[in-house]
Symmetry: C2
Subunit: 345 residues, 2 copies
């Protein structure tokens, strides 16, 4: 069990996927085997007071019945013990998904019994995913020692580290990702916009289309989408020319902003009215010569990179997107400099 591995949440391979959603994971490696036995067969005779394997079921929630031996004068008899349904993760922990509503009076004793059993079983991180319909159970979970891990609009994930060792749980997502799109046509005109809102509105700055990369969206596809949304222009991705990392960009989170070069597939501009005040094709010299661009270090630098990429003499090259497959068989993209690279795949 990679306990220390998680101390600082190490990545264990050059192309790591160490924390796939454990519910979806099929990898083993836990001290307790995954036992998906039906409710009816969960009555197990356990000898010597030892704790039996507990049936773990994924996704649907209802209480399970495990059994422990209880020595009485008449000999060992089976006593029912209610537990929260859980599924094992690949790090020796368990995940409970509370999707259906439950009242606190039923939840608390179940949680306490489950925690005591999981402790005996040597479980480590115990995760509880509470749908927002179960917001009334948050306080009870916290009282039992859980803390928040992350939240999305419709659920809160709480976690409780059972061992007395240092908490080796993974950190939350740390970055937001954005793109800026550099689209230039054969006449060396760059596609620029003026926005209706924000700090550049008042100075009338003509700027590159920009936007946020959605969760699960490829960077190069996000650039194509944003250009289409803001200007109506069809494009194809060429290269990432540069990127910037900024901290404390959004609450405590960091920000990665990728400057993407795109090749136009159409020229007619149909601007998006909600956010864009104006859009046009502007000679790149005019774009770079805007007063704000000349006095702002960042804008000036990026403009110089964009111009260098279009100057055959300077031979500036960024990173292209190479489709490839991970060790686990999923399609992904590797961004690298393909100019001088002899691909050996």
């Amino acid at each position: 069990m990679p306990m220390q591995r998680l101390r600082s949440f190490k990545i264990l391979c050059p192309f790591p996927l160490p924390w796939r959603s454990p519910v979806l994971s099929s990898r083993g490696g836990s001290s307790v085997p995954f036992v998906g036995i039906p409710q009816s067969s969960s009555r197990i005779r356990s000898l010597n007071g030892s704790v039996p394997d507990v049936p773990f079921m994924a996704r649907e929630f209802y209480t399970s019945s495990a059994s422990v031996a209880k020595q009485e004068e008449t000999g060992p008899v089976v006593e029912q013990i209610q537990m929260l349904k859980a599924v094992e993760d690949v790090h020796g922990g368990v995940i409970v998904e509370m999707e259906e509503s439950m009242d606190s009076d039923s939840f608390v004793p179940l949680l306490r019994d489950s925690l005591s059993k999981w402790r005996l079983m040597g479980k480590r991180g115990v995760w509880i995913k509470l749908s927002i319909e179960n917001a009334h159970l948050v306080a009870s979970a916290v009282e039992e020692g859980f803390r928040y891990h992350h939240a999305e609009p419709d659920y809160l994930m709480l976690v409780h580290w059972l061992p007395r060792t240092t908490d080796t749980l993974p950190a939350n997502a740390s970055h937001r990702v954005g793109i800026g799109a550099f689209v230039m046509n054969d006449k060396k005109e760059v596609l620029v916009v003026q926005e209706k809102y924000g700090k550049f509105k008042d100075i009338g700055l003509w700027k590159l289309p920009t936007g946020v990369v959605n969760e699960g969206e490829d960077i190069h596809l996000a650039a194509i989408r944003e250009v289409k949304e803001e200007t109506g222009v069809e494009t194809e991705f060429v290269e990432i020319l540069a990127f910037r990392q900024t901290h404390n960009a959004f609450f405590t989170k960091s920000d990665l902003f990728f400057v993407c070069m795109l090749k136009p597939r159409s020229s007619y501009i149909q601007k998006q009215n909600l956010e864009i005040d104006a859009a046009q094709w502007m000679p790149i010299e005019e774009y770079s010569a805007q007063p704000f661009m000349l006095k702002n270090e960042h804008f000036k630098f990026v403009a110089s990179i964009c111009q260098a990429r279009t100057d055959t003499a300077k031979e500036y090259r960024g990173f292209a997107a190479i489709p490839t497959t991970t060790g686990s068989g999923r399609l992904t993209h590797l961004y690298c400099n393909t100019d001088k690279l002899k691909l050996t795949l």
Copy 2:
């Protein structure tokens, strides 16, 4: 007010910081001016039943007293109305920070009165940051129409969009960031490790040191830190040679993994015992010739990029880290190809 701008949480500048912690923000632009008046001066006579400005205080929490006119036979008299203390954000919303504990019976009426006032004032996104000590208030906030936005170990951020328009609130952080460190000495030996845990343990793979970039940590500094932690070798950052984006890497979050080239400043290896089983300097040909490397597309590709970078004939170039300053004056790093680029800063 950039309402539409936020519909898909647009970035409004090539180097966006659109969502600094609003509490720390000093930018204006809201329909209601920031009024930081002391508690004692919060008694305001309001005419014509209009809603007065409400004093917004940042950070500390206690209830405030605003006033509205109430016409009675004896003429207008002032009626106290308790409200939650809040600070305006730069998007026409307000943020309440509940750091001190409060009971639900006191919280609910305060929240309801505050929401009705904020509606009248045309407020948009209402944020409530609940410390984990106030977990018992989560259910009440949800009952009043709030949903989860994000959570960190010690707090939960809830949000409620008051207008009848589409929710234009920003998304949560979407990516985790990791690094792999390619460190080669003058003898063309690459620094490799064998890990104690994980799927590569059994096949005895010699791999690059890897790790996760912490929130607020620069990518190139994270690479230097990880190499030092795992092997004891001092390095300096050279370039990012390539990076990969993977989806659903951690719950629903995406993953960005950067392959960093570092130059060794020391050669003596003192491995970290918790995670690393062995570490050594290995001839790059041996590293690339490992059976797993030859049959795994990703590993093979990255190894070929690393070799291309060390092959003067191939002239492979990645992205160096250029320190620069944002428009808001914060130091940051732009990663770009500096080989052919004539910096014009």
